[in-house]
Symmetry: C2
Subunit: 152 residues, 2 copies
């Protein structure tokens, strides 16, 4: 089998560069790697990536209804219910019925939730620093985010 650049995988002799031009594949690998790091870092806080993003979104948009937050996260309303219920049980968020429309449950962080998120943000900042290091600087990070935006 031809090996253009001699960069064989020692263990298997597999020509892995076959996947080089497949952007989707590279994207998925990077995403999995970053998410696994996230999960391991946040394991002590029992917080998964989507959950962290949910808390950030509620913190920065307090009082919005479930539908808005779920849509912003591209999570189906049906699946968002248990997610929200779990965090209410944990005392981190609060669902307050709107006086104007009793169907609506407006979302807020509790004081506990604010403190919890503050701790999470510290961990997350460290993670982002790690990522910036691996990428080679903040410019590279900004470039990456810019390119990802164009694909999303």
């Amino acid at each position: 089998m031809a090996k253009p650049d001699g960069s064989a995988e020692p263990e298997t002799g597999l020509y892995a560069d076959a996947t080089a031009p497949i952007v989707g594949y590279r994207l998925r690998r990077a995403q999995i790697s970053v998410f696994q790091r996230f999960i391991s870092v946040f394991e002590p806080m029992q917080l998964r990536p989507a959950e962290y993003t949910m808390l950030v979104l509620i913190a920065d948009n307090p009082g919005h209804k479930q539908t808005d937050i779920a849509d912003a996260l591209d999570i189906k309303h049906a699946n968002f219910v248990t997610l929200v219920q779990d965090f209410e049980t944990r005392g981190l968020i609060e669902r307050r019925p709107a006086s104007s429309d009793r169907r609506i449950k407006a979302l807020y962080l509790t004081q506990q939730g604010e403190a919890f998120l503050a701790r999470a943000r510290v961990l997350h900042d460290d993670m982002e620093k790690e990522i910036i290091d691996r990428l080679g600087g903040t410019e590279a990070r900004d470039k990456l985010v810019q390119l990802l935006e164009r694909l999303a």
Copy 2:
């Protein structure tokens, strides 16, 4: 609520830039978008992203055992079995027991499989061209792949 740049979401009034610095989140969004496009483009061929990559890997590394291909794809051996069996049933790949070690099943594309992959590569090339357009050129694509490599 403060809106630094005035870029509100008209529908919900949600401040979505809260997630801007979260690289993992952007990564996931881009990956989902690219994969959904892939799935829709390849729907007529009944081919999913991981399956396409599997065929490419087998084509460029014929005669390797299941374990090697599964490892290269980061798919658990147990889960790879049904995947391979399905494609054998479809007549696209062949599992040939190695004479040296009868435990090993070496993987090859059939002639049908080669023809099938050739058609798939055309579709995929079109998709990559789309992606390059969205990114703004081949240099941007190369830059993206380079950055993704550093994260994986």
